[in-house]
Amino acid sequence: MKLPYAVTVNDEKGTEELAIKFAKELQNGQVIILNGNLGSGKTFFIKKVMKHFGINYVNSPSFAIVNEYESKIKAYHFDFYRLMNMDELFDIGWQDYLNDADAVIFIEWGELINEALPKERLEIFITILEGTMRKFEFIKYE
């Protein structure tokens, strides 16, 4: 996947194929931000990436703020949706998660606390098109 990369998928199956392609290039220490409206499929994309690594219990961390998964890789799955400010994020140990070089970090609704995001990150923008169609854009920031 040469970045920046943009692609349109027709349905969930297309998203799954894209997620597997993405998973194959995933590296420890990467921070991935997923941006997109409610129902755009942020959690679904992560679910399919993690499935590639044998983790089948991914669900939305909107309430829990962060889910942790460990098998072939270790992943922290954040959702900033419910957070009020950066203080709350730091107070639940944000630095510790961020400094774990052995883990991959996914963040849904990262734009809500933009100032907490590391400079080096990959952002995925998901746009809802007609029906089940979605546009995915991958952009690297360094």
């Binding site: 129902g39 219990y57 669900n59 939305s60 309430f63 829990a64 709350e88 140990g93």
Partner: protein, 339 residues
């Protein structure tokens, strides 16, 4: 036996004292310690737990007319939840157990909810079918005894409470969504829009992500701007959405009633506060001639009384945990037996 329970898995800090099956005290930070401490503390925070925990435990003991030395068993939530938050309650409890030289039990938060019906005067009877509905979880469980819990189904994406929160946000009602959707539903027409109920391969699993998306599509299709939705329409959407959620939950519950030998049904967790859900599951239980136990509102949300009670039943079954017990963030895939 005097049992101290401590809960700090997410937003709430809670401390409770049980004497046998009697609840002497059950204090919850958001209700009992609203602005008692100085400074601005984020709502969701390990620091807030840290500041509140000792005064809360002290207050619970005082309310119960007891001293630390009177405690026979110390219990605390070890997971699932936020590690930073869990650490506070768990570490405090372990420290207390060590200093008082009392036995300690690390309790699973979901197990606390599962048996919360036993906090009521009228107790559930085994085998028990339990529906756990909260912000982070949605589970259907077949509970044969205090030690035999079988998971029939779980959500494959969003939890029930989360679906409420997100639809509430779409309708710009705000957070938390549960009470807001419920209030709007009271005046809305629940038959106005037919939102889909997910059909899944595994008959007891739940999915609310598709429902969330279809509410979003409905809004986008019919209104150019979220701020343009008339109040009446918002209420109708809320009511129709709530109905779809309740149907999904009740369908699987009814299916389980057909296939499992059940004496009583229990509805637990934060979303068990929803009036329509309480009402519909009560109707279902009557239809099948089963006893129904739904905890009072105080015991639906996160509370330490349920942790103390669960800790006590584990202790009585012979378990005792080491003071090395660690917090854990997730339930994982196979925490409960699935067959």
């Amino acid at each position: 036996m005097i049992v101290l329970g401590i809960e700090s898995s997410c937003d709430e800090t809670s401390a409770a004292i049980l004497s046998g099956n009697n609840i002497l005290s059950n204090l919850i930070s958001s209700q009992d310690f609203h602005a008692d401490y100085g400074g601005v503390v984020p709502e969701l925070s390990s620091r807030a737990h840290l500041q509140i925990i000792k005064p809360l435990v002290d207050k619970a003991l005082k309310e119960s007319n007891l001293n630390c030395a009177d405690i026979d068993l110390i219990t605390a939530t070890a997971g699932p939840g936020l590690i930073g938050a869990l650490l506070v309650g768990l570490t405090y409890a372990k420290g207390l157990a060590f200093s008082l030289n009392k036995p300690f039990i690390a309790v699973n938060h979901i197990e606390g909810h599962i048996f919360s019906g036993f906090l009521m005067e009228d107790k559930p009877e085994f085998p028990l079918l339990t529906l756990v509905v909260s912000g982070g979880h949605t589970l259907l469980l077949y509970v044969k005894s205090f030690m035999e819990i079988q998971q029939l189904g779980t959500t494959v994406d969003d939890a029930t409470g989360e679906a409420f929160d997100k639809v509430s946000k779409m309708l710009s009602f705000g957070y938390p969504g549960g009470p807001k959707i419920q209030n709007a539903s009271k005046i809305g027409d629940e038959d106005k829009i037919k939102f889909p109920v997910a059909v899944l391969k595994k008959p007891y699993n739940f999915s609310f992500s598709g429902l969330k998306t279809s509410v979003l599509r409905y809004i986008q299709k019919n209104f150019s701007n979220v701020n343009d939705i008339p109040e009446k329409e918002k209420n109708d959407i809320a009511a129709s959405f709530q109905k779809a959620v309740v149907i999904a939950l009740m369908q699987n519950t009814e299916r389980a009633l057909h296939n499992y030998d059940v004496k009583s049904i229990s509805l637990v967790g934060g979303v068990a506060a929803n009036a329509k859900l309480r009402n519909e599951i009560t109707i279902l239980s009557k239809k099948y001639g089963k006893k129904i136990i739904i905890p009072s509102l105080e015991f639906c949300g996160d509370n330490a009384a349920m942790i103390a009670l669960r800790g006590k039943s584990l202790f009585e079954s012979g378990r005792q945990d080491s003071l090395n017990a660690k917090p854990y963030p997730s339930l994982g895939e196979n925490y409960f037996h699935t067959s």
